[in-house]
Amino acid sequence: MDGIHDMGGMHGFGPVDPSREQPFSKTEWRARMFCLELSYTQPGGFNVDWLRHVLECIPPDVYLTSDYFDRWYWRDVGVLANVGWVSIDELASGVATSRPQDVGDPLPPEAVSVMLEQGLDSRRDVADPPAFKPGDRVRAKFHSPLGATRLPRYVRGHVGVIEQYHGWHVLPDANAVGDERPEPLYSVGFLAQDLWSDAAAPGDKVFPCLWESYLERE
């Protein structure tokens, strides 16, 4: 979706402050929020593409004025309220008035090391050959659905060159809504001067990862 999250190339933001750091400890709300997200029982199971899309649905003014981990809060309460597992009154009071049924036990601390060890992987074992190979010229489609997508606005309609092929990965647009549809994934190189009229150096390049259905042969 054409949301505020799709920030690559936007004008108006100021200098980066490399010295800014935030504390991370058991008593710090940001750390607890971050780790809560990795720990709670997610309705319908953990789906990173759905989680990202819900975060993108936060109103733009709230997105811009909330702390990074506060945006995680708004996302996760949205995920939970969407299925009726929490209500606004409960979130305000911190006291439960109902309990979801048949959700099993929450993730125990012993399960953390397995999750850390294995992580999640969007790659799927598909033997079919990809449509493009490194060196092929491709154009990023003008693809702007209201729903989830990982095609950044800044490359839409532009021509780039396939740099690397990464195997088949589930397409976020479909996976976010529960439809697992793997596609070949590529790093595609775009010349900065093709993307921005004020690019500083003609040889500089930007490489987003693009799924095959985002691309057409040029």
Partner: protein
């Protein structure tokens, strides 16, 4: 369970949640944690365990070991550039947010820098949590468009004849930069080299020198 997934409804829900809940995030997060525990959806000890993991067990020290080994061992470097995940497996590092790891190499004529313009994707298992600046709107919006200007804000000035390559981690592929080995580091062993490699050098916003300690 079947989860309803309608973008317009989620947008309305997010607006409603924001207009009814108190402003202090620390209070809201505390209330959310106790609510989810009471509902049987969360074990607080699991949050504590994750915080220990990200405080003590994963972090840029892992990545620094990979860099130092690549500088010292040509066969390892070849393997790392061809299949970073398998090469890093040899060192016994975990895989969370690093299952599809790609290493990009800096040279005297090519400088790589990593961003996630859409959110904040980062190779947790190899580099820990992303720094605050990596998650900032300023970095996300500007480094793809004006990488040289942003790098200057980190104190890094690149010559005009150096090609800058910006890698956007908008998919599940996670990037780590293999920085250039400092020229005056010949006598150092792997552990001494690893101590020089900063987190920022592996994102591409710094170079490695023998004069500064890594962070």
């Amino acid at each position: 369970m079947k989860v309803p997934k309608e973008t317009k409804k989620i947008m309305e829900l997010e607006k409603e949640l924001h207009s009814h809940l108190p402003s202090d995030p620390a209070l809201r997060v505390k209330a959310l944690e106790s609510l989810l525990v009471e509902k049987g959806l969360l074990n607080s000890a699991t949050i504590d365990r994750w915080i220990e993991v990200f405080s003590d067990e994963v972090g840029p020290k892992n990545g620094a070991r990979v860099v130092a080994k690549a500088w010292s061992d040509e066969a390892f470097k070849k393997h790392l550039m061809a299949d970073a995940r398998k090469a890093v497996d040899e060192l016994g590092f975990p895989r969370l947010e690093a299952n599809n790891l790609v290493v990009v190499e800096n040279t005297p004529k090519r400088h790589n820098v990593v961003v996630c313009t859409l959110c904040s994707c980062y190779p947790w298992a190899i580099m820990g949590l992303p720094p605050t600046w990596y998650r900032s709107f300023e970095y996300r919006s500007r480094v793809v468009r004006d990488p040289r200007g942003v790098l200057r804000e980190f104190g890094l000035e690149l010559d005009d004849d150096v090609e800058v390559r910006v890698w956007d981690s908008n998919a599940d592929v996670r990037y780590m930069v293999l920085p250039e080995r400092p020229p005056d580091s010949e006598g150092l062993n792997e552990a001494e080299l690893a101590a020089l490699v900063s987190r920022d050098a592996m994102v591409g916003t710094a170079k490695v020198t023998t004069t500064e300690q890594g962070n």
